[in-house]
Every structure is written in structure tokens, then in C-alpha cells.
Symmetry: C2
Subunit: 318 residues, 2 copies
């Protein structure tokens, strides 16, 4: 009974899916559930979260939620990657009312790093950047041995570190952000343009073959494995660009660890972290000899495990 | 007597001058002394520090020293801007032996921000970047309400945030660092090249008129005041470039304050901070509404006052 009583639930709200997991005190995921992220706005998302948490065979003492937005003092200030979300949404009130336990909210990238820091590849790191390669490029920071979220919860935006002012147009409207070169959305855009211009690539054939509608990380990983020229060029550019952004970050923050996660990290493993290190090295001024580049250990579970840590911390601190 | 007993001495070791000051508990500089930085290496610098401290009419309970290098666990690991310094110099041992009081060492840019944070323009800031415009571009950080120096004391290098990968060659050997556009050394290099190429500027006439051998911040300030075209172009480029670097930093760290210091800040005042804010604004993703750009209040004294704070903290913490 006491073991059951110490279970918490972590919720990872992504642009595509919502994943939930019951997590024990050793940060192991006991059971999982998953559903597509509804596009009708916050109320629909709340409904799906409540259904998913209810579907788990667990009796959690607390729930933690990671969402792709700026979270400050428990409120979601902006959630740019979810459809139908206006500013400043209260998720905690309705969720804790419905679930009957304390609910804690955090930014998904920060929460993912919290998971890796507690139970994964960032364990023992004092000054850590978590870099998540996905549709966009997200990031989180551990500084001086504790999570750093900044003045209003908006810190960690490694994807919007500028690598070439005036360069490629980013979804955010600026020119030259790392994400404009290294986010899958941008990479797909360039690939499409290149195909229109007559360049050959197996990316779209692989996409169809895998039964996907998008160029997922699985599609990219297969194209890279098959040594597709365009895919390799775009991937190399992505890594070179992230090397510049991570180099700037290390010059600012003198880190001891960089953890690389996201779909591509799960597919490529430590090789991805090694490639990023190689691309970063030329840009570092005076790196610590202790600096390490490592791949995520928790993979897809990082968000759920991190959200569970957030939930557990709230129980401890009241 | 008790008032005298609480005086500490701050030492600011720069590439050009060494400045020392006796500082009281309210962070006021009671008296000052100054000498040229010797170029014979650490032992000569130690000698000058000891002479300068001795020349002050004070009986300090502790001494703090800011130096332009990486300081880790009390040792100067690298001091790239001083002539004749090899790696890993012990300054504290010989200095405290000679002066008979505890001596504490810090990086000059971090120490300058510590001064501004304790008694100047960064007071009350929780997440602050200090940006010093000088021969190079230095920086320091306050994060989560305390000084942040990174894994090995090398954090804060805003001058080596990359703004345009592959761009202008920096003294550090990399291409595209902010300092390569916004450091006075680089700006003078471009001005010289332009004059060689036939462009007109009053910069060098003003330099001679002011009796200087270098393009000091006073020379730059006068050329800007006289609306010299080349000086204005180079200054505008410097500010635009720093805007990109500070924008990246804000996207990473979600700051609430940026303090601009250095010689040019003393000459141009708040106008410089306003110009930097204007140049940064287009690059910020989701800045805090509390974000402020302010000019240094302590000016040239920031280093001495900050080093004194360092000295005082060491007395308190033992």
C-alpha cells in the first residue's frame, strides 16, 4: 500500500501527442497512456489529460504537467505550439479540482531536462544544457545545481540563439535563429524547395514507405542511414548550426554537460551527441575540461519522468 | 576606530592600469591610487599591487582583486590579456603573505558586475547581464539572485557569443564573435583599413588632439559627437552586433536587467543603454515585461567596488 501511495503521474503535452505515465519513487514509469493532442483549445486538452490520467491503473498523490509554453507562477502565459490557446490559461485549478490531487505545471523542455537530471543522462551535472531536436529546437538549463527558468519562465530557448543574424527565416519571424536551420519543420521546408528545384532525395519516398504524413525523425534517420545526399547535407547543416548556438551558450555559461534529446537522438544515439560536440568545439573559448556531450537516456520518457519529478517536488515543498 | 576597522581594499587589474581603492561598509571609495600595469609578468604585477595598497591611507581588513582572466578556486587559470602570464598563477598566497590580510581573487568582468549589483545600476536585479564595452567586450552574470561564474569560472563571455558564424575575424581566432565588431581593438583595425583605403575620418586627428596614442573611448565619444561618418558607422555596427548577442542571451536566460559599462558608457550615459535596447529588441523571443537596460552607475569604480565586495564577503564567510 505504501508503495502505491507514493506514485505520481507525469503528463507530457506535445504538439502531436499527450503522454501520461504513472511513476514510482525510483523514477520508473510503471504504466503509460497516450492520445493525440486535440486542436480545439485548452478545454479539450484538459479533458484528454483527465481521461488519460483516469485510464492509468494508479492512485497518484500528485500530478505534474509539462506543456510547450512559457509557465510562470503556475500559469501558462503563452503556448505558441498548441492550436486555440489564448494567453494566460489556468490549467492547475480545473485539473486539481477534477483529479483531486495537487497539480504542478512546467515548460516541456525544462521538464524534460529535469527528468534527465534526476534519472537520466544529466545526473550529477551542475551546469547543464538540455537540447531537444524536434519539430522545433527546444532547450532547458540546470545552473549552479538547480533548474534555471529565468525571470518569467522563458529561459532555455537554445533554438532562438542567433547563429547568423539576417540568415534563414525562422518561424518566430526573426532571421538566423538556430531553429531555422536545425528544426525538422525548417529542414522539411528546405527539402521540399530542393525537390521542387529538381534535386533528388529519398526522404519523401521513405516517408510514404513508412506510412507517415510528415518527415518524422524515423524518416530522417532512415534517409541518413541510406546515405541520401540531400538528407545528409541538411542534417550536417543542422548540426553545424547547433554547434554555433551551443558554442555561444558555453562561452556564456561555462557548462559541464550538454544533453541531446528528441526523436533524432533516440534514433542516432550517442553518435548524435558526438557529432554535436565536434561541431561545437571550434566555437568554444575556454571550455571546462569536465565538459561532456551525452545523448538522452530517457528518450521519449524524459517529459513524463520530469513532470513526475515536478509533481513529487510539489508534494515535498507543499 | 571601528569605522577604520571595517575598511577593505579593492584592486582592479586591467590591461592598461591597476587601480586600487579603500572602500567602506557603504561601498563608498574613500581614497584611490593608480599605476600602469607592468608588462613583465605576474611578479611585477604583484609588486605594483602591494605598493599601491601600501600607498593608501588605510588599514584594510581584507583585499579583493579583479583580474582579466579565468579564476577558479582562487587561482588564475588563464590571463590572456596580460603580458607574460603563463597558466595557473597563485596570486593569493604571495599577496596575503605580504599584505597580512585575507585576499580574494575574481574575474574583472564578474567583479565589476558584483560592484554594480551591490551598489550601482544592477541593484535589485535577479537575472542580470553586465556588458563592458572596452578594448574587448566583457561580461558578467547574476542568475537567480546570485553571481554566476560557471563550472570553472569562465562564464559571462558575451563578447564571444557568435553573431554571424564565419563573419569578422576575432582576436580569439574564431569568426563572427560580437567582440570582432564591437570591441575597440577591432573597431580601430577597421578604421585604419578604411583610412588606408581612402575613407576620411576625424578619429585619428581627435586622437592626436587629445594627446592619446590609441583610439580611447574619449576619442570615440568626441568623434560621435562631431558626427564623424566613419566613426558613426562603426559605432552603429557595434551596437547592432551587440544587440544580436544580447538578444541571444535573453532568449537563453530570460533576464530582467542588462547593465552596460566601460569607457564608452561613462561618456555616452543612458543613451548608450537605450541604443543597445533598441538594437536588442528585434531579436528577443519572449522578453519579461520587467526587462530594463541601464547604464553603469559606478563607472570606472565598478571594478574597485566589486573587488571590495569580494573581499568583504570572504571576511564574512571566513
Amino acid at each position: 500500500m505504501s508503495e502505491t501511495a507514493s506514485v505520481v503521474v507525469g503528463v507530457d503535452v506535445g504538439g502531436t501527442n499527450i503522454e501520461v505515465g504513472a511513476v514510482d519513487e525510483r523514477h520508473h514509469v510503471l504504466c503509460r497512456a497516450k492520445a493525440a493532442t486535440p486542436e480545439g483549445g485548452p478545454e479539450d486538452v484538459l479533458k484528454v489529460i483527465i481521461e488519460l490520467v483516469g485510464s492509468l491503473d494508479s492512485d497518484p498523490i500528485a500530478v505534474g504537467v509539462g506543456i510547450p509554453g512559457v509557465v510562470h507562477e503556475g500559469r501558462a502565459l503563452t503556448v505558441p505550439n498548441l492550436v486555440g490557446w489564448t494567453e494566460d490559461v489556468d490549467l492547475i485549478g480545473p485539473l486539481s479540482d477534477e483529479l483531486g490531487v495537487p497539480v504542478t505545471l512546467g515548460n516541456d523542455a525544462n521538464v524534460g531536462l529535469l527528468g534527465e537530471w534526476t534519472a537520466g543522462a544529466a545526473r550529477g551535472g551542475r551546469n547543464v544544457l538540455g537540447l531537444w531536436m524536434g519539430t522545433g529546437v527546444g532547450g532547458g538549463l540546470i545552473l549552479d545545481g538547480r533548474p534555471y527558468v529565468g525571470t518569467r519562465g522563458a529561459a532555455g530557448e537554445i533554438g532562438h540563439v542567433i547563429v547568423a543574424a539576417g540568415g534563414a527565416l525562422c518561424k518566430c519571424g526573426r532571421r538566423g535563429c538556430a531553429e531555422a536551420y536545425a528544426g525538422r519543420r525548417s529542414m522539411r521546408g528546405v527539402a521540399t524547395t530542393m525537390v521542387d528545384a529538381g534535386r533528388k532525395t529519398s526522404l519523401f519516398t521513405i516517408r510514404d514507405d513508412e506510412g507517415k504524413t510528415k518527415l518524422t525523425s524515423k524518416v530522417w534517420a532512415r534517409a541518413l542511414e541510406e546515405e541520401d545526399t540531400l538528407a545528409t547535407t541538411l542534417f550536417d547543416t543542422a548540426i553545424e548550426t547547433l554547434g554555433v548556438a551551443v558554442g555561444s551558450t558555453i562561452n556564456l555559461l561555462d557548462l559541464d554537460r550538454v544533453v541531446v534529446g528528441g526523436g533524432l537522438a533516440e534514433k542516432l544515439g550517442q553518435d548524435l551527441a558526438d557529432k554535436l560536440y565536434k561541431a561545437t568545439r571550434p566555437w568554444m573559448l575556454q571550455p571546462s575540461p569536465d565538459l561532456q556531450f551525452v545523448v538522452s537516456e530517457l528518450g521519449d520518457d524524459a517529459g513524463v519522468v520530469g513532470a513526475a519529478v515536478l509533481a513529487r517536488a510539489a508534494v515535498v515543498t507543499g
